[in-house]
Amino acid sequence: MKTSRPAQSTVVGAMFFIILLFFSLGIFYYLEQNYVEYGNAMQSALQLAQERNNQRFALSEAYVYPAKNGFATLFYVRNEGGVPIDLVNAYLYDETTSSASRYKVNIFVNPGQSLWVNLTKYNSSFPAVLNGYYNVSLWTSLGVGASTLVVATSNGVLSSSSPEGNVFPVPGSTSIIVGNAASVGQSSNNLFLKWKFRFWSPGEFAVANFTMSFLVVNNNPYPITIYPNTSVELDWIPTPEQLHELAVEMSAQGQTTFSGTTGAALPINKTILIPPDSVKKINVTGYNVMFYSLNWYFSFFVPGLKNISSSETSSIFNQNFDQLYVPIYPFAATNYLFAGRVLLSYFLLGKTYNMYLNNGYFNLTVYAPPSYATLAINIINNNNYNNGITYSYSTTPGVTESGTITSNQELRIPIGVPISLGAEPEIGIIRANYNKPAATAFYGWSLNEPLGAQPYFLSSQTSINTTLTVYGSNNVLQATFSSPAFYLTSNVSITISPGGSAVARLAIVPNAFALINNVTFSVPSWPNQTAGIGLKFSPSVVSLSNGQPNTVISVNIAKAVVPGTYKVYIEAVASGNFIGQNAFATSASEIWVLYVNVIGG
């Protein structure tokens, strides 16, 4: 069988085609290898970006406090992400001089971990000057940063001004900005918010002045427009105990609605344009919070003018008024946690988006009922008998005030401050001093027992009803002060012979607004009353004409029997009138101790 041979041209063409095919395959393989290299590079870059996205931390609660050779600066760093972070760079930006410094740090924070960073360890001279504003930022090795603003005042953190009625940030840190400037992972459409929170007390009672600012980072290739619905809010975040307290008080007050967690909205009434790939800082200034004591709650509201501005727009003013009621704890320092948040409403490519940023926590401590200008306890040593009453107390952590109250000297301490008096403070008078606009009223009782021996109660009709608590070294002495009618003084010690008699001279000292008409003396049935001494008061009822002040009354005391030293409790009940247009009848009682020394016959 004869086979036909292919034509020469066919063979040539086939071979040529095969060679070209392999050549092309070689080129393709070469190019493909390059793209594999590109793909690997892209994959590693995306992995790095993913690691970066997983890193999230907050820099909050900055503290500056006096330390050896200057000041120490602490920051609270919290790793809010799911991966460890390594902080490598710290920057201190002086907003006064616009100068910045970088410091290498080496701080490792595990997921969920919070730790204090002592920045003074890296820069012992920070802050270089006081009365300055510092922006402090920390950065990880992957380029994730967080910052906060620190205001260092001339008084440092210990400058709590008057402890009788100020609103502070965290206790003992008046000068501090509590801020959280991290971008907290709340983002949409490549839009990020970074939040700063500035707070200081302007020195006025119960008024806090806030400046808030937030950065809007537009990472879009398109501009965005912030819309008028954008608002800033402050929310009270009650503790479970405070919520319980609130519920109880609301029930007692017949309240059914509560807006405590609504906060104060602050709408923006102008649009703000943010170009592509740029950052705009929006400031909210003049944001005041006031605390008013209204029976059982503070009224927390934003009373006046606010100012929102950005770097491009002119100031935006809003007249707004909103209230937030929080329960009061009138005689103890109380912490209230607030959160600032922004509801950002913006316009992007024909659509409107809303985005919440919940961040920027700060803690306020209220030290006293703020409805009065001053409220203090006066401790008066009004007797010449002893060498003085020793005392010590502290209004500032780590700083103790101590001394001796000598004769007729007065010590004034704020309400709610624990005070230790000497183990045997002799006769003295503790008075609550309300400095109200209309009058200064005094309430008092005699104290000549070791603190805690017995509670003393004075009560009568009054429009003021408060409770003062004084802490003794071991026990608690508590008294309810009400009537401002009078107080008594006496020569506290008399000496008589058995079967004899003596005269105790008692002085009635009404205050400037009361007329005392009658005083009745008696020996109360009082626990621990010294037995074995028979006392008889003559007269037992003393009438005062025209309520003369500083009346001295002689009281005969007889039938003391057994030699010894006796403590005799004497109760005096006075009735009289207040002076003035709103005069009303009043009565008050007081108990004090008379020492009777019965000597041998």
Binding site: M15, I19, L31, N34, E37, A41, V279, S311
Partner: protein, 135 residues
Amino acid sequence: MRKGLSEIVGSLITTMIVISLFVVVYVTSLPALESFLGNAVYTTQKEAKQVQEDLVIEEFAVNLTSNSAHIWVANVGLQPVTITQVYVNGQGSKVNVYIGLSDTVEITVPISGSAPSYYVVVITGDGYSTSVTWS
């Protein structure tokens, strides 16, 4: 005539013709081929490097006494980079600053004066850029 020899000679001639044709085609297209492959490889490698470059402008400060801006830039990418251009509010400055991996440098460039905000752009030799606005 021996038929087998002619077949061998014919095959050799055919092979030579094919090789000659390929050489002619290869030599003719060589410049275009080199250009194509070179561009493709260059572009790919450049892009592979670019995607691994990442810079963060961590801090910015101005000194109005000397009319200069201080920019702290951290290399948080996977490639060492060389910054060649810096723009502050449109005012460009040529620089030559090398930043190794995980390193941070401070760059000082002149500025024209104070401004309410500063738009800062940093560009590397490979064309990567990052920007931020400080106000």
